[in-house]
């Protein structure tokens, strides 16, 4: 049957978006082959299966290609048996989807700008904005072990950036978002998340991420500061 067809994940080791797909597969108990992609020189396989965005992750299930990490996670939940990633209650599902979208729409850009902009009023503004976003996420945890309750699920995986990647970025840039005593629930949740058996198997080590971001630091800063000035001129 369909479930038995081979699964491949096209991705990189450092991407939190690829991690979302890998963690979802592992939590669901689905074996897969990881095909590493060089984003500086994209493969025919990637371009064939994700012509629109030309990005990782892409999941290949038999001859079917699925793109966009959140879409991939829902696909994995629906195509395979195993513990559910999304809650079963419709309202809880809507809540999980809402907060996953929040991460994309409200967090991606301010996070990047907070990290890489040259120090100044603008950069401070984005730090403030990101802290407000983190406070909202903190509020969603409300003393629960995971966003959905006792079990790890869709939103935890979607929010993996806040569990792990954020600390690597802070180390490289010196920009503090999580702080020492701020967001205790998020810190505790981050530990629970990164210590999960399935998650550990596909989580890049922090030292690896730090090394990668350090190497890219000058390039990221140049692009980011250039981006903002371009936007202003428009």
């Amino acid at each position: 049957g369909k479930m038995a067809e081979p699964v491949k994940l096209i991705g990189t080791l450092a991407s939190p978006f690829v991690h979302r797909a890998a963690a979802a597969l592992r939590l669901k108990g689905v074996p897969y082959e990881l095909i590493l992609e060089d984003l500086q020189s994209k493969s025919e396989l990637l371009l064939k299966h994700n012509p629109i965005h030309q990005k990782v992750p892409v999941v290949l299930h038999g001859d079917r290609a699925i793109c966009e990490s959140l879409v991939i996670m829902e696909y994995i939940d629906e195509a395979f048996d195993g513990p559910p990633l999304l809650p079963t209650d419709p309202y809880d599902r809507a809540t999980a989807r809402f907060w996953a979208q929040f991460l994309e729409q409200k967090c991606s850009r301010p996070f990047w700008l907070a990290m890489w902009l040259d120090a100044g009023e603008e950069q401070k503004g984005f730090v403030k904005e990101m802290k407000e976003n983190l406070a909202l996420l903190e509020g969603q945890l409300q003393g629960k072990k995971f966003f959905g309750g006792d079990s790890i699920g869709y939103l935890d995986v979607a929010a993996c950036g806040s569990a792990h990647w954020i600390y690597a970025f802070e180390e490289v840039t010196g920009v503090s978002l999580m702080g020492e005593n701020e967001f205790p629930a998020l810190r505790r949740w981050g530990k629970e998340y990164t210590e999960n058996e399935s998650v550990k198997e596909c989580l890049p080590a922090r030292v690896q991420l730090v090394a990668l971001f350090s190497a890219m630091k000058d390039k990221y800063k140049m692009i980011t500061n250039g981006m903002l000035h371009q936007k202003k001129n428009n």
């Binding site: 696909y75 979208q101 409200k106």
Partner: protein, 237 residues
């Protein structure tokens, strides 16, 4: 903040206690229209509460959607669901007996639908906004991006009746309200959807024959007038 007026307090209380469906709405919002079309297709009764967006937002809206402060918000027995595509999925999940289903049964087909609805969300409205807000190089870039987006959607549709295949579905609902904005985009960008993407233009007409769509969509000239109003509001020439 300004204390709630008696009417606002009443609205909030009534919506909070109200059984059934209430949509926090705005007459020209293509995102709210997605929800109204889906509800109408499924024959689900829903009260529409028109919101003031350019002036002071109601306590009900701010309380129901504190994160984004935007419409649409679907209140179901007083509980708020925000973000139009999340609302569409919620309607599917919460009313499993309500036909027609907007998403197909097959997981890969569902993934395709979600992918393209996400593409529409990322590519159409914000690009369109840049088209009327910006001038010179900014507008030219937005025009090029809009044409690429429309051509991509046209190619994806192919010779099928709907993005959902033979049946009107999730992607069709996501995109159709935005077609009311095409007229203004055409005027600002100097292009014609009919000429560039005749298949997409034909699809829009086909969708427009559905009662749910015909009743909900804003006439394109009215959208254009609204955009001209927004331009004044933002001080754009």
């Amino acid at each position: 903040s300004v204390p709630a007026s008696p009417k606002q307090r009443k609205d909030r209380i009534m919506a909070g206690e109200k059984k059934g469906l209430v949509l926090l709405d705005f007459w020209v919002s293509p995102f709210a229209q997605r929800c109204r079309i889906a509800l109408a297709e499924k024959g689900l009764a829903c009260e529409s509460l028109e919101q003031e967006l350019l002036g002071d937002k109601s306590d009900l809206l701010l309380g129901s959607n504190p994160v984004h402060k935007k419409v649409p918000v679907l209140l179901h027995d007083g509980r708020a669901v925000c973000e139009s595509l999340v609302i569409l999925e919620y309607i599917e999940d919460a009313f499993p007996g309500a036909a027609p289903r907007l998403l197909p049964a097959d997981p890969h087909a569902r993934a395709q639908a979600r992918f393209w609805a996400d593409y529409v969300d990322k590519r159409v409205y914000s690009c369109g906004t840049r088209l009327w807000k910006l001038k010179g190089e900014g507008r030219a870039a937005a025009r090029a991006e809009m044409l690429e987006t429309l051509r991509t959607l046209d190619a994806e549709l192919g010779d099928r009746a709907f993005f959902g295949g033979e049946a009107f579905g999730f992607v069709d609902v996501a995109l159709i309200p935005l077609t009311s904005w095409f007229y203004s985009y055409e005027k600002h960008g100097g292009f014609s959807v009919e000429e560039e993407c005749p298949g997409l233009a034909e699809w829009a007409r086909r969708c427009g024959e559905r009662e749910s769509v015909a009743k909900v969509l804003t006439p394109p000239e009215e959208v254009h007038d609204f955009i001209c109003l927004l331009k004044k509001h933002y001080g754009v020439e």
